[in-house]
Subunit: 345 residues, 2 copies
């Protein structure tokens, strides 16, 4: 994957989605039980809560994170005892935490509003998004309490704190081109990889497997999450995505510091660096600036650089699966990592 050109994103996306679909299909019963649990547990006598939650949760998406919990549990040989399917309930927990962070992530600042950016929460408003996110977050802890494992609670509450830290860090590095690579990686670890890692580790924990297997799955989740977010950040500047009618340039408009921008800035000459400072640091963007940014990013190989790094993480994710005997689930998890790309969030 190291010598792929720009546009590799979509190919990887298609193949990655095939592996994802195959894994969902293989774990169809678990996934259906998880969907049922999600719908049942997001209910509330306050009607707006299930309405708004349904907007995100029930409407679907690929459910990648709960799938990771279910697959990890099954990879570790977990068998539900009696009526209690712990992996299903905890997969629902993971999805609730993810959905809560999505809802809160959509809350826009006054300043962003002024720049005229609409957000998904436009339908219900900022406040509703925040409060329903809080409800889902609280509900996820109720589900964990019902599950009763302190180890699981420690994993998921730590992940929740790390996500919030990552999101805050992303906010404070916004518009700051002096952000180091290390800091950027910390941001994407917090905002994405931490929950992937926790989702996987929880699967090993319910199967009551030794710590080495839990560590291995956590490593898989961490590296998959890093790869996933890097590709996501690359696709936001992939000019040919726009040809396919997909949104490009959201990160650009927000002045978000991602690897494509950092790489293009580092490789840029004086005029190019001045351009990046104006559009990212000063948030002074003209109608043609996105096109210019896409050109610069393509010309400096910044997409390539981002995808190469994603490929490194993907390889590490695959390597993390080595302790497990060969199986269909292991194979599919490996494929998902290899192709990495999944936009279905």
């Amino acid at each position: 994957m190291t010598d792929r050109g720009p546009g590799a994103g979509q190919d990887a996306g298609v193949e990655g989605e095939a592996a994802l679909s195959a894994l969902s299909e293989l774990l169809r019963d678990d996934m259906q039980a998880c969907n049922t649990a999600i719908v049942a547990r997001m209910d509330s006598p306050v009607a707006l809560i299930p309405q708004l939650a349904a907007h995100l949760v029930a409407a679907g998406g690929k459910r990648l994170r709960p799938l990771l919990t279910l697959a990890s549990a099954r990879l570790c040989g977990y068998q539900p005892s009696g009526q209690v399917a712990r992996h299903v309930n905890l997969a629902a927990c993971v999805e609730f935490i993810h959905t809560a962070t999505l809802l809160h992530d959509d809350v826009v600042d006054e300043s962003q509003l002024r720049r005229g950016l609409a957000s998904a929460n436009a339908v219900f408003g900022n406040k509703a998004s925040v409060l329903v996110g809080d409800f889902l977050f609280a509900r996820s802890f109720q589900l964990m309490t019902e599950d009763g494992s302190l180890e699981v609670m420690a994993i998921l509450s730590k992940a929740a704190a790390t996500i919030a830290e990552g999101e805050v860090l992303q906010m404070v590095t916004q518009n700051d081109l002096s952000t180091s690579m290390e800091r950027y990686l910390e941001v994407i670890h917090g905002k994405t990889a931490a929950l992937f890692a926790a989702a996987c580790r929880v699967g090993a924990v319910v199967a009551e497997r030794p710590a080495t297997e839990a560590d291995a799955l956590e490593g898989y989740g961490t590296n998959l999450g890093m790869a996933f977010q890097l590709v996501d950040d690359a696709l936001d500047y992939a000019a040919d995505q726009r040809l396919l009618g997909k949104t490009v340039g959201d990160d650009f408009r927000e002045g978000k510091i991602t690897l494509p921008v950092l790489a293009a800035f580092e490789a840029g000459d004086e005029a190019e660096c001045a351009f990046w400072r104006r559009v990212i640091e000063d948030s002074d963007q003209q109608p043609d600036d996105l096109d210019r940014a896409l050109e610069l990013i393509a010309a400096t190989g910044a997409i390539d650089a981002t995808l190469r790094r994603a490929a490194d993480y993907a390889e590490r994710a695959q390597a993390s699966l080595r302790p497990f005997p060969d199986s269909r689930i292991r194979g599919l998890l490996g494929e998902i990592a290899a192709y990495t790309v999944n936009r279905g969030r």
Copy 2:
């Protein structure tokens, strides 16, 4: 307390605060340990988190909710064993949950922004308030996990869900004068009484007292919380508060449905009802409208009606303490309930 006139609020406030101060003083060591725990556990390598949290948490306030946990635990005879002071850590948890809800409560909608209302989060922005609130919420669950009691986790995660439901319900009843009394009481139970109740119950649980005592303290907390919020809602329309330089009319400007408004609307003649519909339902407010509202509320005895209901809850709170033998803590908890008013949130 049933025949007190308007303005009773402040007198009650002074006496209530004296009892509160006395209880804080009696439990000074516990309160100091709790403050230390709060400051230590809101720390994060992401500097903005302790900065913003300090804005609300470390800056103080009366810390009523953690005080309730500490007092309940001590009332039940709790003695920390060794280095672990469970009541202190859980009191910090309770304060984190409260602070998270305060931060999220300050988040404003686009529509509200347009109406020109500033909020406390103006310094840091909506997004920072949301994310730091999330961090504190996650951190509170980490603290609970360290404590290790599933019973405590069930109490506090349920309270957190109930708070979110109450806040959503408050949002959907906003500007709606057809809101029933029952619905209003449901809102204030969720937004305020649920956490008071949980804070108290947790104290009994760490002391490992029988369920009857936990139920009694939960009853105390519920009724105290209801009284507290009713008085809070009354003071927002207490004209003489304004003479003292305090803010009056926040609820009015937001079109919040509180008992003073419901009572004045119910008691109003045709012209008065038209006035309420315009200012609350249509959010069409002119500069003199707050004065008119204060006059109508005073004239219809709506403050009185609200304080009478608060007094009923306060009496029930006192009655809830009957199972406990006489003690200084019980006496002060009773006084706090009797005088009810506490603005120090």
